[in-house]
């Protein structure tokens, strides 16, 4: 079951999203910095990296939906809850600190980065508490 069909599809979807993210980010930065695009094209280029990350979230969501192994599905859900808890907690506390002028402004896309860090932390906790993580183990 370690390379079951849902796991393979997840890896393809996640890998595709990350490839799209890197490609669109570098393309957008280069084209916009060199004033090679204008108008609506800038908006489209600005949206693409974020949408690629949304694709990674979709890949994880579909892994939960398609996962046939109930134990592994529970582990993945625990990981996503950990990621969500960490991201919401840090971003909420940081937002208030920022509002009171105590810390510097941080771009909102870092919430996704923190979420993935929390997701990884959830995997480590799963491995410690349940002897396995939800990534196909």
């Amino acid at each position: 079951m370690s390379q079951s069909s849902p796991d393979r599809r997840y890896r393809v979807r996640f890998g595709t999203s990350m490839a799209a993210y890197v490609t669109s980010l570098f393309a957008a930065k280069y084209l916009i910095a060199h004033h090679m695009v204008e108008g609506a094209i800038i908006w489209i280029l600005g949206l693409l990296p974020g949408l690629a990350v949304v694709g990674a979230f979709y890949a994880i969501a579909m892994l939960i939906v398609e996962q046939r192994d109930e134990f592994v599905r529970m582990l993945i859900v625990r990981q996503t809850l950990m990621g969500t808890a960490v991201a919401l907690s840090i971003s909420t506390v940081w937002g208030f600190l920022e509002n009171f002028g105590l810390v510097v402004h941080v771009d909102a896309y870092w919430i996704a980065v923190i979420w993935f860090m929390g997701y990884g932390l959830g995997g480590l906790i799963n491995r410690f508490t349940h002897g396995a993580s939800g990534d196909g183990c």
């Binding site: 079951m1 370690s2 109930e70 134990f71 592994v72 529970m74 002897g131």
Partner: protein
């Protein structure tokens, strides 16, 4: 919840992987159930019981 899954598996000389393949779950699932780290759903508990020809109550024991 305690269970006799490890003993039942040992009586048949099945590895965790062999039992997992018969139940169509991961080896990690079998290990988690055997060690009491995970309680299976009712459908999976019925599949386990059917595989060993026993009732759920004969395999799983209340704490």
């Amino acid at each position: 919840m305690k269970n006799h899954l490890k003993d039942l598996r040992a009586q048949r000389n099945w590895s965790q992987l062999e039992l997992a393949q018969k139940l169509e779950v991961s080896r990690q699932s079998v290990n988690a159930i055997e060690t009491g780290k995970y309680d299976p759903s009712l459908p999976l508990a019925f599949r386990i019981a059917d595989l060993f020809g026993l009732t759920i109550e004969e395999i799983f024991v209340r704490d």
